[in-house]
Structure formats: structure tokens, C-alpha cells
Amino acid sequence: MKALILVGGFGTRLRPLTLSVPKPLVDFGNKPMILHQIEALKAIGVTEVVLAINYQPEVMMNFLKDFEAKLGIKITCSQETEPLGTAGPLALARDKLIDDSGEPFFVLNSDVISEYPLKDMIEFHKSHGGEASIMVTKVDEPSKYGVVIMEESTGKVERFVEKPKIFVGNKINAGIYLLNPSVLDRIELRPTSIEKEVFPKIAAEKKLYAMVLSGFWMDIGQPKDYITGLRLYLDSLRKQSSPLLASGTNIIGNVLVDETAKIGEGCLIGPDVAIGPGCVVESGVRLSRCTVMRGVRIKKHACVSGSIIGWHSTVGQWARAENMTILGEDVHVGDEVYSNGGVVLPHKEIKSSILKPEIVM
């Protein structure tokens, strides 16, 4: 079975992290974002994943070669020379997605982190016999998104409403699709939107069905949602009693610690923290609701909350980083410095406090 992951472009909303690596390779929960999706696809028997990208294909392919071998799944890139929107890339990758088996193929959006009940989705798709299935998720603020209006009992999609001003429903497109190869015949090789042009046509022919995603869902394309998404992800690991979660007297709530990371004495870690490979957390450190990426050193007595600390950065002794502080790669926060929402580009030293949210270039 095959799958396409829409990787898209520059990931500007996740800067400064995406100044160092392309967005799908930014770590989430101690592994590159895109690996969560690839592993979920592999688990249900997908044998080939096509990445639709238009930025830095060499960096992506170098990285993915490692995972191809380790995971035993074929990974290829389909490179857009101009941005093709959310449907165009499918037409571009047509030859890679269709084979003689006539099986449907998955399409995932690379910014999305969720439970990925893909096996259930295959069953759902078979049972309704339609041309396309989409996953929808219930949200609190549907007006920010495109709402999917569907028949509750069958899931048959009636129509889409973009950013509705009155309440029409609270299920939105979750960015996970299972499509029959015939859908590709509806897509031309030009910039096209799947939500605005392709799905409405299929819905009109009553061949589009929606399945409500149980479990968590988050679009982690920007830092605020990334931090919320980590909480939801770790929560789902807890529900599955995952052995990956840490435990101990210095751990509160859900915490992920890579086995190569070191944590000192007298620390208090959690809730909702991910500590990556090779990190050193010295003694007396408090970490909560934050991500600490590969190779970071948090020095003694420091305090980090609600923040993302990028690869190989350091946080000095008694320093405090909070309120959506985002440190890019190789950023060094001096001893005793306070950062309230500082967003710092790679290769910088922060020697004086940042009292209100500010971008440091």
C-alpha cells in the first residue's frame, strides 16, 4: 500500500527552528516530526511513502536514507518546481501512487500529529464503498478552520464551509485522507486546493465520507500549538501505558527522556516535558511544559517552562526561560539571564535579559 505526505514549503511559522532543518525534520517528542507519520504508516502495512516537497530535497533525502533502512519502508521524494497547493502534488506523484493493485492510498499532512487510527480508516473506507475518506476532528473553535458538514450516521459528507461565521458544525478536516486511485483523475497538474476544488466535487457526487478521529489531534506548525501538541501526545502515550515515559521521584506527570540524556540531582521535571538525545540537565533544574532538543545543556538551578530549546543550545546557571521562549540551534543563554518569550535565531549568545517577547536576530 502507498502513501503521500504533503510536506510543502518553508515552515516559516516554526522559525527559528526551521532555519536549521526543514520542518518535517524538526524533532517532536524526541523524533523528527515526519517519523511519527512514517511509523504509523509502516505499522499498517504501507510499503512506500512519497514525500511531496518543494524545499531542500537533498537534506530530506540524506536524512531519510537512514530511516529507509532501519524501518524497512521505501521513501521517495516528489519535488514541486512551483508550489502546487494541497492537491497538485498528488497529480505530480501520480505514477508513484498508482500500481496495478488498484488499492487506495493515504495522504497525510506533515504538520499534523495525531493518534493515526489508520487501520480503522481502512475498514471504514471499505465499508462505505465511496471514492474517498477523510478524517475529521472535533475542535473548540471551528471558525478558524474549514468545517465539514456530514450526515452523522453514515459519515457521508454534504459540504464544506470555510471559516463559518455562525455555528454550522464543529468537525474540521484533520488532514488525513484515504483515496481511491480514481481521485487522481480529478486532479490536474497545476496549483490546486483539495479542500476547495477536489473534495467538494466528490461530495456532490455523494462519494466522500468522513470519519471522526477519536484521540488527540494537533497542527503543530507553530510554536504555541507545538507545545500544546506535546502535552496531547504524551497524554496519549500515558493512556497506552507506554514504557517510553519516565518515572521517578523527580518526575511529575508525563515526561519523555531519551536514554542517552543525563539528569542531575535535585531536579524537578514535568509535566509535559521531552528531553532529547545527549542532553545534560544539571542539578537543581526545574523543567515544565517544554521541549529540550538533542545536545542541549541546562545548567544548574535553571528554570525552563513553556518553551522550546533548540539543538546544542545551553541555558546558563540560574537562568530562566519561559512564556514561549524559542531558542534556535546553538543559542547560549548566559548565567542568571531571564527570557520572557525571547525568540532567538541560531548561533547567538544572550547576555542580557529579555523582559518582554522579542525576536533576537
Binding site: F10, R15, M361
Partner: protein
């Protein structure tokens, strides 16, 4: 003097990628030395100035950038200016003098009698031939280009004192802490040396090596920042050579009364582009554009337009505008004090004042991209990175926009990541 044996070599320090973050966001897309000022890469200006040195044998560019980033530039500039230019990549930081010493074999290959050392990110008239003449009359180890500055701005620079009659360098310290300032002259970052500079640099290296091997260094001494971690091959020109040798009849100064600025930030690059345009007006006015709004666009003040750029006759350009290759300037556009980079499209009736518009960007109709014009302020010049789109009628004021963003709402005083 000036016989065929008196060959001169010039060395231009171009720096490197992670060292300077102050040139962001422009340095995210291009090495700073290759950023265009008045239509030519920054490093072209000192290179062209070197051409005026009598008996110039070779120019070396020394930096930390990968060789491939400079390969194309170096071969084309060698051809274009008919002067041999080579790029040498430093493997690790050696300090400003250590870098020179590191490549002494190449520099001394043609047995030059004099060696110029220039910093690429200095904007000035580079009076190199006059400096050489002065240096030869002083007969010292080196001559430093200096300039008088206002007392207020002098404080950011080192303290430099010279004898008013003999021009000997009497005293030099980096960024002194005392409040009493005795001198208003500063080091411009342009030097000329005789080959015995290498002996002086080696002296500093050996001295440091000897001190390091002396095990009986007291624990207090070992903690002093100056001694702590400098490897023996890391030699700084200012602290390690000029300061100790000041007052020993080794170094002299030559004063320039022309302009001088350091090009550390994008805002300053706009100011320096203007300074070079003014220089072209004096020395090569045919490089500048002209027009009165009839057949060609109306030009005010000093303006550079690349031959491949297309400018609508109803546009008004300048003063201090520089338009790069393949840019397209639409009808009724107004450009003032700005740098428009390659492949930019500016649509009808847009206005750009005190800004730098990055490569391949698109500025919409009736939109406005402007800033206060304070070249020293963080947001005093609006900078649009590569491939930024400003939609029709949108206003972007005193802001910095990183590459690949689309501005569809107006902003002021913001950094858009």
C-alpha cells in the same frame, strides 16, 4: 622607489558565516562580502581600489566561507578587473594577525616588498597609493589608515594617539574603559606592512607558547582572562602587535579626510551604498543613471541601474537608489534611498523609501515599503529578505521580514520570522 622589484600584495579579510549575525537577515541568503553596494559586491570596492596600487602583483581574500561560495566570484572578478584574485579559506580562527601569518607562504610567494591588509566590511575611499607613498617615507614596519571622528562616536573605537609631526603611532588601546578621551582619531581597518610584520607576529606566538609551557604559572595568573585560553597561533593585530609596539618607531599613521564607515548591519549597508554612489559621481559618473522622465525614468541624485533592469519611464528613482540585475520597476513607482536586489518586481505606483528589497521579491501595486531612515537603528531601515511578497496596497514600515513570507496585512515596527 617604485622600481620593478617593488611588488605589492593586498590581503582582504572577508570574515565568515557564523561570526557575524549582525548582517541578518540578508546574510541568510548571501555571504556579506558579496552583498551589493552601489551595484557591486561589497568586496569589489576594496578590490577595485587595490588596482590603483602601483606594481600590484596579487590580491588574496582570506575568510571562513566555503571555497565554493567564492570560486565563481573570484574567477569572474579576476577576469573582469584584470587583476589576479585568489580566495584562501582559514581552517580555524587565528585572529586578525594570525590569519595573515597563517598564509605567509602564499603571500610571500612573489617576494613582495609591501603587503596591504584591508577589512572587507570597511567603506571608504581606500587611498592606497597615497598610503604606500607615505609608508615608504616613514620607513617603519607598518602604516595604519586613520580618520578623525566626532568625540561621541570615538568612544566605540580604540584609543589611538599619533605624533602630529612624525605621524608615528605613539599609543594604541582597544576600547578603553576610562572616560577621559585624549584622541579623536580611530583605526580604519586598512593597513600596509613590510614583510617584517611576519617576524613580529611570530614573536608573539613564540612568547605565548613559552609562557604556556612554563609550568610555574601561579594559579592567579592562570585565571586572568588574557592568559586563559588563547592558543599560541591566535594573534590579534590590535592588541598583540599595535598596542605593544606603539611608541617604538615601528608603526605610523596616514590620515584620510574622506568618508569612512563600518558595514556591520543591513542598515549600514544602505548608507554605504549611498556613499559609494556619491563616490561614483566624483570618479566614474558614467556608471550612474540619468533620465528626465521623458524617454527614461526621472532620476534624482545618485542612482545605479543595472543594464538588464527594466524601469518604466513614469517611475521616479533616487536619490541614493541602486537597482540590481533583472529587476522590473513598474509605472509610477517611487524609489528613494533603497537597494533593490536581483529579479525584484515592483508593481505600479508602489513606494519604497529607506529599504532593502530582497532578491526575487514582489512589491504590490500602491503598496508602501518604508522606514525612518536611521541607518543605525535596529528597525531604522526596512529589510525584506529573499522572495518576500508584499500584496497590493499593504504598508510595511520600520520592519524586517525574513525570506519567503507574504505580507497581506500592514505592519509597523515588527520582525516577521
Amino acid at each position: 622607489m617604485g622600481g620593478s622589484e617593488e611588488r605589492v600584495v593586498a590581503v582582504i579579510m572577508v570574515g565568515g558565516p557564523t561570526k557575524g549575525t549582525r548582517f541578518r537577515p540578508l546574510s541568510l541568503n548571501t555571504p556579506k562580502p558579496l552583498f551589493p553596494l552601489a551595484g557591486q559586491p561589497m568586496v569589489n570596492h576594496p578590490i577595485s581600489a587595490c588596482k590603483r596600487i602601483p606594481n600590484l602583483a596579487q590580491i588574496y581574500l582570506i575568510g571562513f566561507y566555503e571555497e565554493r561560495e567564492f570560486a565563481l566570484f573570484v574567477s569572474s572578478i579576476s577576469n573582469e578587473l584584470r587583476v589576479p584574485v585568489r580566495y584562501l579559506k582559514e581552517d580555524k580562527p587565528h585572529g586578525s594577525a594570525g590569519g595573515l601569518y597563517n598564509f605567509r607562504d602564499q603571500i610571500m610567494e612573489e617576494s613582495p616588498s609591501h603587503i596591504f591588509l584591508l577589512n572587507c566590511d570597511v567603506c571608504c575611499s581606500f587611498p592606497l597609493a597615497e598610503m604606500l607613498e607615505a609608508h615608504m617615507s616613514y620607513r617603519g614596519m607598518g602604516t595604519i589608515l586613520v580618520i578623525k571622528v566626532s568625540p561621541e562616536s570615538a568612544n566605540q573605537f580604540g584609543e589611538l594617539v599619533a605624533d602630529p609631526v612624525t605621524n608615528e603611532l605613539l599609543h594604541y588601546t582597544e576600547k578603553p574603559e576610562t572616560f577621559v578621551r585624549v584622541s579623536d582619531r580611530i583605526n580604519c581597518g586598512v593597513y600596509i606592512f613590510t614583510p617584517d610584520i611576519f617576524t613580529a607576529i611570530q614573536g608573539v606566538s613564540s612568547q605565548r607558547k613559552d609562557r604556556a609551557t612554563l609550568r610555574r604559572v601561579s594559579s592567579f595568573e592562570a585565571l586572568q582572562p588574557a592568559n586563559r585560553s588563547l592558543p599560541s597561533d591566535f594573534v590579534r593585530l590590535d592588541q598583540d602587535i599595535l598596542s605593544p609596539l606603539a611608541g617604538k618607531k615601528q608603526f605610523y599613521v596616514y590620515e584620510t579626510t574622506d568618508y569612512w564607515e563600518q558595514i556591520k548591519t543591513p542598515g549600514m549597508s544602505l548608507k554605504c551604498s549611498g556613499l559609494y554612489l556619491a563616490q561614483f559621481r566624483r570618479t566614474s559618473p558614467d556608471l550612474l543613471a540619468s533620465g528626465d522622465g521623458t524617454k527614461n525614468a526621472a532620476i534624482s541624485g545618485n542612482v545605479y541601474i543595472h543594464p538588464s533592469a527594466k524601469v518604466h519611464p513614469t517611475a521616479k528613482i533616487g536619490p541614493n537608489a541602486s537597482i540590481s540585475a533583472n529587476a522590473r520597476i513598474g509605472a509610477g513607482v517611487r524609489l528613494v534611498n533603497c537597494i533593490i536586489l536581483d529579479d525584484v518586481e515592483i508593481k505600479e505606483n508602489a513606494v519604497v523609501i529607506h529599504a532593502i528589497v530582497g532578491w526575487k521579491s514582489s512589491i504590490g501595486r500602491w503598496s508602501r515599503v518604508q522606514a525612518s531612515g536611521d541607518h543605525n537603528a535596529k528597525l531604522g531601515v526596512t529589510i525584506l529578505g529573499e522572495s518576500v511578497t508584499v500584496e497590493d496596497e499593504v504598508v510595511v514600515i520600520n520592519s524586517i521580514v525574513l525570506p519567503n513570507k507574504t505580507m497581506n496585512v500592514s505592519v509597523q515596527e515588527e520582525i516577521i520570522l
